[in-house]
């Protein structure tokens, strides 16, 4: 009989891990709390830097899961340590004995309303990056006006923000803002688009080219300065205050739409999951790996592995590569090599 491995979380990390385990000859059991696979990526429209369709990425991952046991709409009741492995009790009543568990529990988007000064949930035309993707996917959103003349993006909402309790850079928001700014400019060529940033952290393949495109070909304005407060005008537009730090002058602008780049924060549900099997958290709230350099997919506990953003913000290609790496670590472990 093939060895069972429980993979918790059916986002791209869990899917790729399960697919890799499958091709290594194991019997992965993929457990997903929601009613669909794909996690955050499934609610995205197109992905940087090649504007790949998110649905296609999910579809190709799904195709590779043929033969894996997938439980949707299923949570974890508890995980108990046994002498030689773990007993994982699922909320659907299924009890699994497994020598290895992979946590692919992902992240949460920062709750934008907590940055009260930006007025998310209060002003009529303030949305988040994820609301915008939903709109790109064809979802209705009355907050997006029919013909906006000016649109703003606020980078680092809840990221690199000690006061919000998150010191980490969310890594993907700078490039996401640029991607979304370009997409909006394509839809509304007459609109002026402003990105308010602290630093632009564009580290990935082709990201800088994307930025140059946004500047040169789309005329998107980049203003170095964090938005300090947002107000609503009598006509319902929002007015944004920031400092143009390169000019050393305060700047204000009225906008028809303001997009908040909500950052990546740790998944708070990890706490319940790790009740019986204590797993340490890092200062940033994410799961602590055995080693941040050479053992990112290894937990400090024998038989428990990590894949994807449960250990910190990551891009899709990084997550996929890490998922494969986690599968190989599980393989080595089950073969008695680690």
């Amino acid at each position: 009989m093939k060895e069972s491995v429980v993979v918790i979380g059916g986002g791209v990390a869990g899917m790729e891990t399960a697919a890799s385990l499958l091709s290594l000859g194991y019997a992965p059991i993929l457990v997903e709390q929601s009613d669909h696979l794909g996690g955050h990526v499934a609610s995205w429209h197109r992905l940087f830097p090649d504007m790949t369709s998110a649905d296609e990425v999910i579809a190709s991952l799904k195709a590779r899961l043929e033969g894996a046991s997938v439980f949707l709409g299923t949570g974890i009741q508890f995980v108990n340590r046994l002498k030689d492995g773990y007993n994982v009790m699922l909320t659907n009543g299924v009890s699994v004995l497994a020598k290895a568990i992979v946590l692919a529990t992902g992240f949460r988007l920062f709750e934008a309303r907590r940055k009260e000064e930006y007025g998310y949930g209060i002003y009529d035309h303030v949305i988040t990056n994820s609301d915008l993707e939903n709109w790109f996917r064809g979802g209705d959103d009355l907050r997006v006006p029919a013909e906006p003349a000016a649109i703003g993006f606020v980078h680092c909402v809840g990221s690199r923000d000690v006061k919000a309790g998150n010191t980490q850079c969310s890594k993907v928001c700078c490039i996401t803002a640029i991607k979304q700014a370009i997409e909006l400019k394509e839809k509304f060529p007459g609109a002026e688009i402003y990105c308010f940033y602290m630093d632009l952290r564009l580290f990935g393949k082709k990201y800088e080219d994307f930025y140059i495109n946004a500047q040169r070909d789309y005329g998107i304005h980049f203003i170095r300065g964090r938005v300090s407060e947002v107000g609503e005008r009598i006509d319902g537009r929002v007015i944004v205050k920031a400092e143009d730090t390169l000019a050393g002058k305060p700047v204000k602008v009225s906008l028809d739409l303001l997009v908040l780049m909500s950052g990546i924060v740790c998944n708070p549900e990890i706490a319940a999951l790790t009740k019986n099997v204590t797993l340490e958290r890092d200062e940033d709230g994410f799961l602590r790996s055995r080693d941040n350099l050479s053992g990112i997919t290894l937990s400090p506990r024998k038989g428990i592995f990590y894949a994807g953003t449960c250990t910190g913000p990551k891009t899709v290609p990084e997550t996929l590569a890490e998922a494969r790496s986690a599968a190989l670590c599980v393989h080595d472990f089950l073969q008695g090599r680690a």
Partner: protein, 111 residues
């Protein structure tokens, strides 16, 4: 009535009302100025900068913020040596930019 004090002018730039006419004309001639990242290489290497306040970085920013007097005042100290073009990491043809701005100012003067 003289109160001995009065309303102070605001230094804030209001992007709703900013005059971008010159910027639009200049960017039509040299669209690469949009790719400035404000790194300051141009100003750091500028022969005139330390004495006159000349700074291509600040000129580009002033164009984008509609501060035309600042553009004129800074550029008037340029000696067109071309050193800023040599150092720009974005490959902006700053010499072309400076000449384009001068041309626009000259046109205005002529009118």
């Amino acid at each position: 009535m003289d109160f001995g004090f009065s309303l102070s002018p605001s230094s804030a730039v209001n992007l709703d009302t900013v005059d971008l006419s010159l910027f639009r004309k200049v960017e039509a001639r040299c669209p690469d100025i949009r790719t400035c990242i404000g790194c300051g290489s141009c100003s750091a290497t500028c022969m005139a900068s330390a004495w006159s306040g000349m700074s291509v970085r600040q000129v580009i920013l002033a164009l984008q913020r509609g501060q035309l007097r600042q553009v004129e005042q800074k550029l008037s100290a340029c000696m067109l040596c071309g050193k800023c073009t040599m150092v720009c990491p974005r490959g902006i043809n700053t010499r072309n930019l400076i000449l384009a701005v001068s041309r626009e100012f000259k046109k205005e003067e002529a009118q």
